[in-house]
Symmetry: C2
Subunit: 119 residues, 2 copies
DNA sequence: GATACATTTCAAATGAAGTTGAACTATTGA
DNA sequence: TCAATAGTTCAACTTCATTTGAAATGTATC
């Protein structure tokens, strides 16, 4: 992750609608959620608006989409989120922070499928 | 951390100058860095611009300032950063992701002073 | 108390981002 | 192939954020 990617990603989640979508997809995990289901959860939002924001998130590299029949399923890109966190916290405390180093390494292991054990 | 605080924080770090400042202060740790030193590191930026961005970051709750003689020292607010990360990743994978839970707990322990051991 | 230093505040100018509804494309099923 | 469903694209409108330099504030030093 370089600075421009990080800036794009932070800009993406600094919008209320997009932040809600990303959090929804983080909870949804690898299965993701159809655009229509996302729109329904954000009650009152016209489809063009949701589509606009989903495309912004996709351009920012935070979510990806796949077609399933008539629906388009969006899901969070977990490595992108963990890279984003790493970009922000890396080299914390003059590069000598063991807790952040460990936390960054753990986030990198999240795949969108529940992990029931931690090494 | 509520949604509005998170939105403000993400908006704050979605600007190049501010993201650079925050990362600089994350590295600097609890000691922080004088506004002048920050401006110098961001070569070419007029003081009024740095001051504007520092005040945005302070309003967003990501940094704090203290006066030391003629200088004003800015430092990252580490709990705010860890709360921000938690806000984004909380309930990951339908709330059953052990790695993210652990990572969030670790970030919460970062104080800005190097930690040499991790439990 | 005058001067230099460190930083903030202000107002004006510029540029970028979000919302809307209507029209368009793609897929399924009768 | 016609209609229904699921999403996307487009253009016009509105709103908000960023940059700049000049002037003002607060602090130390001579």
């Amino acid at each position: 992750m370089n600075e421009n990617q990080a800036l794009g990603a932070f800009a993406a989640i600094s919008n209320q609608t997009r932040l809600r979508i990303v959090r929804m997809l983080v909870v949804a995990g690898a299965d993701g959620r159809a655009a229509g289901a996302i729109a329904e959860a954000l009650e009152g939002a016209p489809p063009s608006r949701i589509s606009f924001h989903l495309s912004q998130l996709e351009q920012a590299g935070l979510v990806e989409s796949r077609r399933e029949g008539r629906s388009i399923i969006y899901s969070a890109i977990f490595p992108a989120l963990s890279d984003l966190v790493a970009f922000l916290m890396r080299d914390c405390c003059e590069g000598h922070c063991a807790v952040c180093d460990k936390a960054i390494a753990l986030f990198a292991k999240c795949t969108g499928r529940p992990a029931h054990s931690v090494d």
